[in-house]
Point group: C2
Chain length 626, copies 2
């Protein structure tokens, strides 16, 4: 590659300067991907003109202050165009030439797809159709909670418009009249393996988007003047989100590969890259400074939740944990960082109580769980603490969003109600039975499953001060309150509910099965068999010491009972936590093996072999007293 020349500062008022900047973005996108030996230069070239104009004249952003609360937001929903994004960062002086050339190498911040390891990146993208839904959450927070004038810009590819999540996002952007949101679609016609479904049929795209309530413009994505006018026009639109459908050419600027299939995700070979760069005028070091943000109010305040008063419950009274969850949210609502998002089940998950008390920080996505999680993530980007709640089973709808939020290292609080066979008559479609497995496997996640109202309320407060993805599983039915308000429930802990010196085994339960385990304890005691009972309210992280000590103290006999499928749930979490050099262990695992149907909660739990009788029988077998 050629030596980088010294910097020249561009005049952003002059479109020919902007053209120089666009050319530099092309050169840099080509050279950085060829240098790395992988990446997506052609998907970068198509959007270079759009982004050059945006950065020169419309993106209000101080790159020296990425945490400035009034910066605009720019989300590359087409995260594979990272060569372009990083070329922009180089062109505004945020990334040095040396760092630029670390693209895609081990340890570099410039990963194959952008992540918030870079301070100017709000969220990780690379799973298509996610950047826009999250941007809707950002724009919603800016407009409806923070009342700022910052604008949210999203660069989408045309391929990702076939993801349903994109249409959930358009719908919600329109519902909330998000005139601070502009979606720029780089319609370059070619996807990874050939033409996209609609190709350059801009009219069809426009018709669909207009029908969803968007202010829609169609432009030539390589005409700088048209681009500039479009950005000016959409910035002035009132009451509606806007979309710019930019007809572009994949590979634009390198004639041999322009609009050609077979060049997706392929760097140009070295000789071809050198020739293309020479043809474009060689490596340059133009610098520009985007418009400054418009100063507004200070950033949202997010005081800790620790120490805040919680609702209290009388020991022995019957309260569903989902109700205690809702009570706790409402109690904690005077913390201005708390926002709650519902997907049309707030009267079941009990987020409605928060909604009534704090309507300005309660958002309804209707039945759109992907958008619910994305809205929350957008609000996290703005510094809020977002709680999202639906039936535990339905977080499976947003699993890719949750997975990607973990890559973003976002703080999201997910509360899944109606867990397991315990829900009874509604049947298996409504039963979360794989939620613990799937959410334990999310990077850096926390998984909580309280058994009573007191511990639920306490853990709601605990979780809101915890980073990462936190999942709390709640139960549909009413069960007795076990703990009084003085008890503490640190995340990573466990409670020994029953114990004695002659315990012949340990029963580990969580959530609803704690109540069955306690009943089994009494029945076994009546038969002269003493057992220890542990409430494993924190499934991840798990309290290894308490588990190991209990097992050692009870003859190395251990029974785990859970309302979840056997794989990846509490049983495996407990096994993984044990020190196997201290075996042998007599280990039994009661979980839901057969596909459940409908029935009463008791019938279904008994049939699944996780009810009181099954626990008693398994305990007796383990204790050698069957």
């Amino acid at each position: 590659m050629a030596q980088t020349p010294s910097a020249t500062v561009l005049d952003e008022h002059n479109l020919s300067s902007v053209a120089q900047f666009a050319t530099q973005l092309r050169v840099d996108s080509i050279r950085v991907s060829t240098h790395a030996g992988s990446g997506h230069p052609t998907s970068s070239l198509s959007a270079a003109d759009l982004m050059a104009v945006l950065f020169a004249r419309h993106l209000h952003y101080d790159f020296s202050k990425p945490k400035h609360p009034d910066n605009d937001h720019l989300i590359f929903s087409k995260g594979h165009a990272s060569p372009l994004l990083y070329s922009l960062y180089r062109g505004v002086g945020a990334v040095t030439e040396d760092e630029f050339l670390t693209y895609r190498t081990f340890g570099s911040r410039l990963e194959g797809h952008p992540t918030p390891i870079l301070p100017w990146v709000d969220v990780a993208t690379g799973s298509l159709g996610q950047g826009l839904p999250i941007a809707v959450g950002v724009a919603l927070a800016l407009k409806e909670i923070e009342h700022r004038s910052a604008h949210v810009w999203v660069l989408c590819g045309d391929s990702e418009l076939t993801e349903g999540s994109v249409w959930e996002a358009f719908d919600k952007a329109s519902l909330h009249n998000l005139d601070n949101l502009t979606v720029i679609v780089d319609v370059n016609r070619l996807g990874q393996r050939g033409e996209t479904e609609l190709g350059w049929d801009i009219e069809s795209y426009a018709r669909r988007m207009e029908s969803f309530g968007l202010y829609t413009l169609a432009i030539d994505g390589h005409n700088l003047g048209e681009i500039d006018e479009a950005f000016t026009e959409v910035s002035a639109v009132q009451g509606r989100p806007s979309v710019i459908l930019a007809k572009t050419i994949k590979g634009k600027g390198v004639p041999e590969i322009e609009n050609k299939n077979g060049w997706h995700g392929k760097p140009l070979p070295k000789e071809m890259a050198d020739a293309a760069i020479a043809e474009l005028g060689g490596v340059t070091n133009h610098m520009l400074t985007p418009p400054a943000p418009v100063e507004g109010a200070p950033a949202v305040s997010a005081p800790p939740f620790a120490g805040h008063a919680l609702p209290t419950y009388q020991v022995g009274s019957a309260v569903p944990t989902r109700k205690a969850f809702g009570d706790a949210l409402a109690a904690l609502g005077d913390n201005p960082s708390l926002v709650v998002i519902d997907a049309e089940v707030g009267n079941s998950t009990h987020t409605d109580e928060f909604g009534t008390a704090y309507p300005d920080r309660f958002f309804q996505t209707y039945i759109a769980e992907q958008q619910m999680v994305a809205t929350g993530e957008g609000m996290h980007v703005r510094g809020f603490k977002p709680v999202m709640s639906t039936f535990g089973a339905f977080f499976s709808r947003a699993y890719d969003f949750i997975r990607m939020a973990a890559v973003s290292q976002a703080n999201l609080y997910l509360a899944g109600s109606h867990a397991g066979t315990e829900i009874g008559q509604d049947g298996p479609s409504q039963m979360a039975l794989e939620d613990i497995a799937s959410l334990r496997a999310v990077h850096g996640s926390t998984v909580l499953y309280p058994s009573d109202a007191t511990s639920t309320a306490s853990l709601v407060r605990e979780m809101l001060d915890r980073p990462g993805i936190v999942y709390m599983r709640t139960t549909r039915g009413s069960y007795p309150v076990l703990y009084d308000a003085t008890e503490t429930f640190p995340i990573g802990g466990a409670k020994i509910l029953r114990s004695g010196t002659s315990d012949s085994l340990t029963i580990v339960a969580a959530g609803v099965t704690v109540h069955s385990a306690l009943a089994a304890h009494d029945e076994l005691a009546a038969q002269g068999i003493a057992v220890r009972v542990i409430d494993l309210y924190s499934v991840k992280p798990i309290d290894q010491d308490t588990l190991q000590n209990a097992v050692e103290a009870t003859g190395k006999r251990l029974l785990v009972v859970e309302d979840h499928y056997p794989e990846g749930g509490i049983g495996e979490a407990v096994l993984a936590a044990l020190d196997h050099t201290h075996g042998p262990y007599a280990f039994r695992h009661l979980a839901v093996s057969d596909l459940p149907g409908s029935g009463t909660p008791k019938e279904l739990m008994d049939h699944a072999g996780i009810g009181i009788a099954a626990i008693v029988a398994a305990a007796k077998t383990l204790a050698g007293k069957a």
Copy 2:
């Protein structure tokens, strides 16, 4: 409840008879949910007129022959309207009065939400926004593969139209000109917790659907004549899918609760139900027979795949397992039941080879993973063996569809490529690192992770004869072929790749880590440490005997290494398979703990502690020779 009178046969040519049938559906929906003490009568009442007309005059279906290949299909995407569906089954004589009253009781086929335990139900519904996408797959199979005249009818609720999956489905129905598909939307305005996003704004719905290419009719959903004309009209539409937007009243027929909030998912109290039933004319036993199916060709033939020739590979040659997967699909393609569905990555997952050889059974959903899985499930309904393939990470987008397919007990074949940190430079957004955990937890699933081309090809053939949800994980890079074509790979088995009488521990690996384990074996051997190496190509079901025997024979020392997050993956699967009464065990688990970035595959695997050096070090520690 009143005594059921003796049966009367209705004349379906007379709309007043149809009205009597509709009234019976209302009476039955009320009485069956009140009898059960739970369920969704009001959501049933709104659609009773629509379904009465459909059954009387337009649904070509022989209820005595649910497997008749020319039956129309009717999918209740709003599965919570099960009281209505089961009332229809009673009214056509498919379900007796006695069975009818078992609704929602333990052991009954009449579950809270319909499942294919009932022979007239194609797929389980209850997670909203899924019935329609699956119906698109059914209609696609009927029209483009089977060339039958049967029609596919879907009953949707208005609440579920906010799910993005619904718009993926509309888009694909339109793309394929599915004029054999009619979507009936019961626009009753009220969701679970209040008004839906668009309420009775039928025009907005219509505009959006028209923009997606649907033939759209708006009708009064309680006017039998209008309904009848609408069904007649849509049956004649050519070249486009159709949608009937029926404005309805939730609770229609019970004036006190009509169009009132607060009655979602609530049965009427006994006295109120009795009064409503009396007002409607009491319990009746009208019977009708829907129109007969139009006889066509025999059902699709699905001969076994066992015994079919496979591609062969030379031991030692370097072949990516994703390539072998694609080769095997193409080789097995002359089985007429095999269909393959791609979500725009077929050139990466290697399903393109099948697409070239069998274009008539290869379908493109573009980037729409929910629709990809739904299309496959629809084809399963028609008797095909559907293979769906994308990057392993992106099946997380369709996790709720996969979960529900397990409730349907459907046979789906999912192949996820680009697993783990091994993909290298593209970074974590593209890495499947929680796929094994999430897919192991799916009810009745099978999880395969072959290490070489020979075993991959063999397991593709094996899996296609296996029922349930089968997930195969493949690897991006090229690795040596380990097995020759004479080896067999039964599902539930494992291969001992290295073993000797003086082995001091067992290393369990799968997929890419098998190659690292083999290299570690050689390095350890050079240092005088003999180790056993197991290729755990079948993660679920797991070969307990081979694992237990190996561990017992190698000093009860065990090392598991996997390119996956620690939770719910291969390590926990192996732990769960062991007999812990035979401990103590020296157990080590190498998995990906930190969030990966970009880098070469080797750098990333080494950094994650799952590379050769990490295996060697862990093995030496376990063997007491560190």
